[in-house]
Symmetry: C3
Subunit: 243 residues, 3 copies
């Protein structure tokens, strides 16, 4: 299985061309669109989302991950084998939280051939590598050499910031709920939110936080939208306060 | 064939995870995205859309339907076999117009196991059931017990309201055109619209209603958009007047 | 392979129904969403996009192309075999730049049977033809008669206008970069843009044009958005000035 995690969108020309490469190079392998609206050009916020969603997928999955504002510059390109799943994409921090939480890691550099597009590495560089790995080919056999992964030691284990706002207006943080005290309050934009188990446990119209279905602390409103609340925006800082 | 009818969107993380479950539990079964932008959190409007679009699909299709503002509460979960098609989703009225128009109906309750997510029944409860039904398994063999379907006897046979606004700005009503007099006028927001056969039969820029390709009465503008017209919004009431 | 190029969107009910037809009539044939957000109801701008993206796809691909404001009127419906690829859709100019740049062309008229929907030819007329061609059936065997293609001799070889704005805010023109002098400047809305190789070659926040990964001249901003720049909108004229 190949899982796409990008900021490419689905309707425009980018994801379709990536899938054409995957269909050509890995025919018969299922492709899943996990996210095509990862935080645009923001590898930091995207990284904590990816780390929350990737473990839900089956072992053996190959993740093609592109949130890559530095495409065409000298930033590394890499393929990481982390706890049985492959992650292919730019070396810009996108894999930092995964690495931070990993058990077994193998790490490879993807050589950038001259002559490929400078602006569409998702199609021309990463998709062919992801396809070959999904076919079960060994890294050495497809030109990947062992290399230390790109790291961001300055990034935190959990990101106390809003990392995604979904179409319902719910705001995901980069904080794992399991890492928070059961009675922790989260503050964004000067307002504090208390924890509930799920939407129906809050009064209609009330804002709260809860552990979402992938383990992240998420701010929401029962039968309403959180994205209009003061300070709720991608990248906005979140403060954690125990009661 | 599994047909998805949800308000999950395609680009965010929800539809992809549902498809991962379907791919795991029903490998080789085709999945079609019918609508991922069904009226958000509005089972009533969504219900009349679903009833208009479902009959177009082949007999044997399994519809996975999630417009579910009550997820995690005690609302029922159900699987209905209606005229040769399966419908899996929440018991909140989403299937009421289908039931109202049905011939043969079998109805089953889906047990909610403790331990599944309280906020993502689409992935954790409904998708596995839809996959198994698409595999041809019998309801009894997958833990479904016969039960009366959830009903909304207070809802009408056709909904005199705007139920969907498409990307062209056309506004679908919940009224079947075949149930309207040929010369019926529709009034929304104080303005009346007359019927034409298709776009080219109205002057450029003129607003009208017509029978869309799935049988619903739809308000549109030839080479223009109807969504800016007075009163056109999801849920807005529509009045029917014969000439 | 069937490639979809439409203004239908993915989330609403249109693309899903088209795919249901393709799955029924051409089971096992891969379908790729190239663009579902082609310039809405604008065959002229869409035509130059299609001509830039289609050659990237493999020989033998069948393109189902629908940007069709005249659906239901007497405009022709056609299937064109251009340099080894099929293009199925309305005769409204959408294929003009492809024809202008073509080597070998065969051209066929698609008969419009009475009784199909007047408003959804994508599903009811074009998809069945595309599916049959993707199955390798000969045009004559599926009722297609040779006919001259619809032409727009008044349209230019390259379109000096904005034809698409992507989700990053980059603005594609209908001009092939290879047809421009290396030091050409592009002017839109009274502002001039110079050429760079790729994003990283411009200062942060600076606007420029570059050759995108499919050969079009595209206006962009390094780590910013071009779509807020003066005059940047679909259809806006572009002036070319050599230094």
């Amino acid at each position: 299985m190949i899982v796409l995690f990008t900021d490419f969108g689905l309707e425009g020309p980018y994801t379709g061309q990536v899938k054409a490469v995957l269909g050509r190079d890995a025919p018969g392998v299922a492709t899943i669109d996990l996210m095509a609206d990862a935080p645009m050009q923001r590898p930091r916020e995207a990284a904590y989302l990816l780390a929350a969603y990737a473990p839900w997928f089956e072992s053996g999955a190959v993740f093609l991950c592109v949130v890559d504002p530095g495409v065409g510059t000298a930033r590394p390109a890499e393929a990481l084998h982390i706890d049985g799943r492959w992650f292919v994409g730019p070396g810009n921090g996108l894999f930092e939280p995964l690495l931070r939480r990993a058990g077994a890691v193998e790490s490879f550099a993807i050589p950038v051939h001259p002559g490929i597009s400078a602006s569409f590495h998702g199609r021309d560089l990463f998709a062919p590598v992801a396809a070959k790995l999904a076919n079960g080919l060994a890294p050495a056999s497809i030109g990947l050499a062992p290399a230390a992964p790109f790291r961001r030691p300055d990034w935190p284990d959990d990101l106390a910031a809003i990392v995604y706002i979904d179409r319902y207006g719910n705001a995901m943080t980069g904080l794992r709920a399991a890492a928070l005290a059961p009675d922790a309050r989260l503050a964004v934009g000067g307002h504090e939110y208390r924890r509930v188990r799920t939407f129906g446990d809050a009064p209609e119209g009330a804002a709260f936080w809860y552990e979402n279905a992938n383990g992240l602390a998420e701010i929401a409103v029962n039968r309403g939208r959180a994205d209009g609340l003061l300070g709720i925006a991608i990248g906005a800082p979140v403060e954690v306060a125990a009661l």
